[in-house]
Amino acid sequence: MAYVPVKGGEEAILNSLGMVAEERRGDPATPELTIAQIRQQQARAVDRVMAEGSLYDPDLAALALKQAQGDATEAAFLLRAYRTTLEQFATAPPLDTARMAIRRRISATYKDLPGGQVLGPSYDYTHRMLDFDLMQDGPRAPAARAGTPVDAHMPRVPDLVANEGFMEPALPPEGDPAPGDLTRQPLGFPAGRDTRLQNLARGDEGFLLGLAYSTQRGFGSNHPYAGEIRAGEVPVEVVPEELGFVIDIGEVTVTESQMITSIKGASGENPRFTRGYGLVFGHSERKAMSMALIDRALRADEFAEPRKYPAQDEEFVLYHSDNVESSGFVQHLKLPHYVDFQAELKMLREMRAERQEASQ
């Protein structure tokens, strides 16, 4: 019996790519999606791709979603692989979220506060019943808005009470060093809070959500309050070296969350409130809140809290939060492994043969 080895990997790959393109397009009789449609009408998906893709560009995120057939993780990967080729031409000073053009701002810790509660667009109070009207195109009624615009300067709730001394101040670390950048330097331990926050901001929403939930359900001991959640547009500024003054280069939509937890304080320390911080691109309260809960859990050492739970474990959280990394590694199992499988098979055969020999 003769055996002829199979070849043709390259042709198969090219054909596979062709099939993807065909599937993506679907029935040619149906109009093709435009980037503008995705950007505007699938905006939360675009937000997620920008956050996890670590690149603020709604058009490219929409393109990535189109290219990936709506697969958010695949789209984030496309955006990351593009981002990594871009030049870093400037560093922006920190965003001032107090200057946010508020779409939405709520606090669970005060009934009313300066600037007021702004419900804004939210799924929170929708009834989750399928809206069959959306099955067809049709005119939609414009939304009503309050007669008075929200304040231009909207102080952050935890800052409002910080001067009373109950709230830990939000201050830069000593010397205000430049924050680390995970996309340029490998992760090291112990990771600073700057690095942790960057990791979480890029992290997978599902992973963060599950971990955050674990801290509430029993694998954690903090009882958090939603000090404030806000979403809206914030200006991005840079100070070009050759100019020496601030220029506004545009704005980004972000969601910020500050979660508040009381601690009794070690001996000699005042009991006080501590903060967990979350900030993500786009409008995603689920992720911003999850991030804030995990940030607080990871600060265990700062408050001499015992590290007992997964969400408090820096290596566990930071090494497994990135979906581009985890998706790649989980799925690399699809690659051929027959050389190593052969080695295992051979060993099992030999061990069985030895065992059989010994029993005879």
Binding site: I13, T84, G328, V339
Partner: protein
């Protein structure tokens, strides 16, 4: 293959020159400290993590148009991942590619070292899924770094000892740990332990890239690479009793090919180039076509 239009929007070799310099610095450090895992600022590549991004970054940082690149996966040039990586470099680095081991200046590989001995003029780049040989015993990176710093490899010897005590043999078939230059315990990546002996004293430079874990390490030419073992349980590579069904080669690593559902099978060379060249030279195995 000429560079297609979208490739021109990327730098030669895909990575920007600053990144290449960073990778090359890590490579130099790795060569200076054989077997030591050098952290590097691994970049996102256009293929997924776990599919060869570390090896690709090393290749991309070293490649020139004068190179001849060979890419293999499981020893074969025609496996899909090898085809895909070769296609990538043909596209972004305008490089000549080859299947012929002896003709290649740069060989990127996953899970195998070619059968044909490599020379001083060649560099072999191994794709690494998990650079940390101690990881299975100690999940924490912080602890593993200490283990290497102190050279405290007792845990690994204990693992090997327990394996011998329980099964009468060392049951590690691939990624078999080695001691490099008498100092660092290193994972040779998931090559079968059959390939371990090829590493010691190899004239070619051996480079290892782990993209997801952001580590680079190296075995410089003519460096001692010792597979860990015991005096009374010496290291043994795998041995295949039958000759290759196609080319008749013995003493090579083999793939098992299932021929039917009644137990019919044959063994052929895992190294597809080695096998093809032997057949071209007239060698014939028992299952070869006439």
């Amino acid at each position: 293959m000429p560079m297609s239009a979208p490739s021109r929007r990327y730098n030669y070799g895909y990575l920007d020159e600053g990144t290449k310099r960073m990778v090359r610095r890590a490579l130099l450090k790795a060569v200076a400290i054989p077997g030591y895992q050098v952290p590097f600022g691994s970049r996102e590549m256009p293929i997924p993590y776990g599919w060869g991004t570390g090896g690709m970054q090393i290749t991309a940082s070293m490649i020139t148009p004068a190179d001849r690149l060979k890419v293999i996966d499981q020893g074969a040039d025609d496996t899909t991942n090898a085809v895909n990586i070769r296609r990538f470099f043909a596209r972004v680095a305008d490089v000549q590619t080859t299947d012929k081991t002896s003709a290649a200046t740069l060989i990127q590989t996953r899970h195998r070292i070619p059968e044909e001995p490599l020379t001083e003029d060649q560099v072999i780049v191994l794709q690494v899924p998990q650079p940390e040989p101690m990881r299975g015993l100690e999940p924490r990176e912080t602890e593993c770094r200490k283990i290497h710093a102190w050279g405290e490899y007792g845990l690994m010897h204990l693992k090997l000892y327990e394996s011998v005590a329980q099964t009468g043999r060392i049951t590690i078939n691939h990624s078999y740990p080695v001691l490099v230059g008498g100092r660092y315990v290193m994972s040779p990546t998931p090559i079968p332990r059959f390939d371990n002996p090829k590493m010691t004293g190899m004239p070619a430079l051996q480079l290892f890239g782990a993209g997801r874990e952001r580590r680079i390490y190296a075995v410089p030419p003519y460096t001692e690479v010792k597979s860990l073992d015991f005096e009374d349980h010496p290291f043994t590579p795998q041995h295949f009793p039958d000759p290759c069904g196609l080319c008749g080669a013995v003493g090579v690593y083999q793939d098992e090919i299932l021929l039917d559902d009644r137990g019919g099978k044959m063994f052929v060379c895992s190294d597809s180039d080695f096998c093809a060249r032997r057949r071209a030279a007239g060698h014939k195995g028992p299952m070869a076509e006439d």
